[in-house]
């Protein structure tokens, strides 16, 4: 290292290696705008482009640094499997024998076929589930495997599966966050879809969540004198947070945009890289939820 050019080359080499690994390769792998990873619901385009108001809301989220206290990355520790019997087949005695041998309960022939679909084995590993499935297949029964993602984030209700790159593919600025002072927001659109709750939470967090340390975003709202009638948009705040008599709090377009963004935050579509058992489709013509 005695001479300048060697130091320069050493630094260049090390930086090039790191650049190759963290800048170039991820871009090559993940940089394309839409990827065909949604092999579960092929007809669905995932992720859908966020509606215009939600995209404005993303800018407000960015400008006010919401990502400093809220993350958008659900973590998953593992995936367990349930084995669900869907069709007992014709040889119910054989099926019952298999289940009894595996110590899954005491079944009789007719008892096996009753109350289908029923879960035979819960929270098993994939190997155990596949083994049981093949035993039952030999006995003529049909089974389904249901996936059960586990992890403290999932058990807290923050999401049904882990967040993956595809979840952010439609966002202009991706902000998965770095600190969790408050809860994770990756699925908040599914967990807290009520617009009024969200607006009140932004204006006066302590009015809907007691002792919350979240700062108030009152500057996204307008305090105005009530005209001949209160506006439909005006917030229905509890007494200690309500404005003075004769005034109402009305959300500005920024507040509504931010709430639209929060409502659009859902990431529970099953994907190839984050498999999930989708909820059963409705048997009628009614649109799925």
């Amino acid at each position: 290292m005695r001479y300048g050019p060697y130091v320069f080359l050493a630094a260049f080499f090390a930086l090039a290696v790191s650049w190759f690994g963290f800048v170039l390769t991820p871009q090559v792998q993940l940089g394309r705008p839409v990827q065909e990873t949604n092999t579960v619901m092929k007809a669905d385009l995932y992720p859908q482009e966020r509606p215009g108001e939600a995209r404005q809301g993303l800018e407000i989220y960015r400008a006010n640094g919401c990502a400093y206290c809220h993350s958008q990355q659900v973590q998953q520790k593992g995936t367990l499997v349930n084995v669900v019997l869907t069709d007992a087949g014709k040889k119910t005695m054989d099926v019952a024998k298999v289940l009894n041998d595996e110590h899954l309960g005491s079944f009789s022939g007719p008892g096996v076929a009753a109350g289908l679909p029923k879960t035979l084995l819960q929270n098993a590993t994939m190997d155990q589930a596949v083994a049981l499935q093949s035993l039952l297949k030999n006995a003529g029964a049909k089974t389904d495997l249901h996936l059960v993602p586990i992890g403290s984030d999932i058990e807290r209700g923050w999401g049904k599966r882990r967040t993956v790159a595809q979840d952010f593919a439609a966002d202009a600025t991706v902000m998965p966050g770095s600190l969790r002072v408050g809860p994770d927001l990756a699925n908040v659109g599914e967990r807290l879809p009520d617009m009024n709750w969200q607006l009140m939470h932004l204006y006066a967090p302590r009015s809907v969540v007691k002792d919350s340390p979240m700062p108030s975003y009152a500057f996204l709202f307008e305090r105005r004198k009530i005209g001949s009638q209160p506006l439909a948009d005006a917030l229905a705040l509890p007494k200690e947070f309500a404005p003075a008599e004769g005034y109402e709090i009305v959300p500005k377009p920024e507040a509504k945009a931010l709430v639209a963004y929060l409502q659009s935050l859902r990431s529970d579509t099953p994907l190839y890289e984050a498999p999930l058992t989708p909820p059963p489709a409705p048997k009628t013509n009614a649109p799925a939820k």
Partner: protein, 484 residues
């Protein structure tokens, strides 16, 4: 300080005093602006910290919402003080070790002014809502342009100074600084080009680049420059050479190879290979900390007393110890079992604070307290401020690091405990945050002492050097002196 050099050397040898004097103009800009940004950053940092205890504090104004205040605090500190004053100290070390005058000091000062301009408009932009959304890279593009130009100017002339060196073989501090001076513009330009330009990259790759930039700035750049400062001053203050150049070379390679891979958290929404590589890089940086421990301990073997200027030595010593603790903590938090608790908690904040303030800023303080008297030829107006600054800063950062580290671990376990609601988890943090606010307050006081001392010294310098000249030039001429 005795500024004589061996007179038996070649006739073109420059005395140390001349070298120091040539640094005067750029260092004045860089250090004084740096101290101003330091204080500003601390004020904003204190404000942000206070908002945790009193969430409705100043929350009615969009400009003072937590998200914007926090971004301004970290950026003012990182870009305003750490990078700027760091470049100043780097310049002085380069000039001293190259035994040559600074090349074009005025250009470097102009670079510093451009840097300040970029930072000012960038921070105002953040307050107005133009934050980019990427941590440690919040300054919007219009600020970046001036920052980058200023950096290029400052660095170009620093490198020119290095190029003018007498002895062609490079010393340890010189390698570290040379690598660092090239490192920053590459990573900064790449990050800006990919993230902030008109056609930024899409999706989660943005965050991977942002994390890569953050690790390269916080670990690699601060590590290289900070260790350059530590290695230089250990030798300077103790008047003995560094124990092992080979070990320093080992340190250099482990920083540039492993720390540049750090940064992607374990839980990131990216394919498994990216956090896996980052984990390996992070854990391997423990070797850097170990190599520094060995080198410094062996250099200090036989007593660590310094023959001159205790306070700068105290800062450098504290900085070295903080480096070791911060880097070992970082390496530990890379281990997946530990990361599952400490990820996304205050622990990472504690580690960051310890690294950039406890290590880098303290090393800079030590350097500034050593350099400025030599460059200006004047003593600090208040020597007791220097001592008080040390204690305020040291106690402050220890308080912050310990309270946030413990708070972070508690937070990590709490989030895993399903019986605790969101608010309960937040409440369990509150006492730790209160203690860390006290630490922030102490640090602010220390920073004010530094700024006070610097301004006092500048005023004194002005009074000593400019006022008499000014008075002489503007004095009324006696009739005898007027030429016909």
């Amino acid at each position: 300080m005795n500024a004589t050099s061996p007179t038996s050397s070649a006739s073109d040898s420059i005395s140390t005093a001349e070298i120091d004097a040539s640094c005067r103009v750029p260092l004045f800009t860089l250090f004084v602006s740096g101290a101003v940004w330091l204080v500003l950053g601390s004020i904003f940092g204190l404000l942000a910290s206070l908002k945790f205890h009193s969430p409705s504090f100043l929350s009615d104004c969009a400009w003072l919402t937590y998200g914007r205040v926090h971004a301004v605090a970290t950026n003012a500190f990182l870009y305003g003080f750490a990078l700027q004053a760091g470049l100043g100290v780097a310049l002085w070390i380069i000039a001293r070790t190259s035994q040559t005058r600074v090349a074009q000091p005025w250009m470097i000062a102009i670079g510093g002014k451009l840097w300040n301009l970029g930072l000012t408009i960038g921070l105002i932009g953040i307050l107005m809502g133009d934050s980019t959304g990427f941590e440690y890279l919040e300054i919007p593009r219009y600020g970046f342009v001036f920052l980058f130009l200023g950096y290029v100017l400052m660095t170009f002339f620093s490198l020119l100074t290095l190029h003018n060196r007498k002895e062609r073989a490079l010393g340890v501090s010189q390698w570290f600084l040379l690598a660092a001076l090239f490192w920053f513009p590459w990573v900064y330009f790449t990050a800006d080009y990919l993230l902030l330009s008109r056609a930024p990259i899409h999706g989660v790759t943005q965050v991977v680049v942002a994390w890569w930039y953050s690790a390269n700035l916080n670990l690699v750049w601060f590590g290289l420059v900070g260790l350059a400062i530590v290695f230089f001053f250990i030798q300077e203050l103790m008047k003995r050479p560094l124990y092992s150049r080979h070990l320093a070379l080992f340190t250099f390679w482990t920083i540039v190879l492993f720390a540049s891979w750090s940064g992607v958290p374990h839980s990131a929404p990216v394919p498994a290979w990216i956090p896996a590589l980052s984990t390996v890089g992070t854990v391997l940086t423990v070797v850097t900390a170990l190599s520094v421990i060995v080198n410094i301990r062996a250099t200090c073997a036989g007593g660590c007393s310094q023959t001159e200027n205790p306070p700068p030595g105290k800062f450098i010593a504290f900085g070295t110890m903080a480096f070791v603790v911060a880097w070992i903590a970082n390496a530990l938090s890379g281990i997946p079992e530990v990361a599952s608790v400490t990820n996304l908690t205050w622990f990472t904040v504690a580690q960051w604070q310890l690294n950039v303030f406890g290590f880098f800023a303290m090393a800079l303080f030590g350097a500034i307290y050593y350099i400025v008297p030599r460059v200006t030829g004047m003593e600090w107006p208040r020597a007791n401020f220097v001592k008080s600054h040390f204690w305020c800063a040291a106690i402050g950062i220890v308080v912050i690091a310990i309270s946030l580290a413990i708070g972070g671990i508690v937070q990590g376990f709490d989030w895993h405990d399903l019986k605790m609601t969101n608010v309960e988890v937040a409440k369990s943090q509150l006492n730790f945050l209160r203690i860390s606010t006290l630490g922030e307050l102490l640090i602010l006081i220390g920073n004010l002492l530094l700024l006070g001392n610097l301004i006092g010294l500048s005023v004194r310098y002005y009074k000593t050097h400019f006022v008499p000249v000014y008075r002489e030039v503007t004095a009324e001429l006696k009739p005898a002196e007027v030429k016909p």
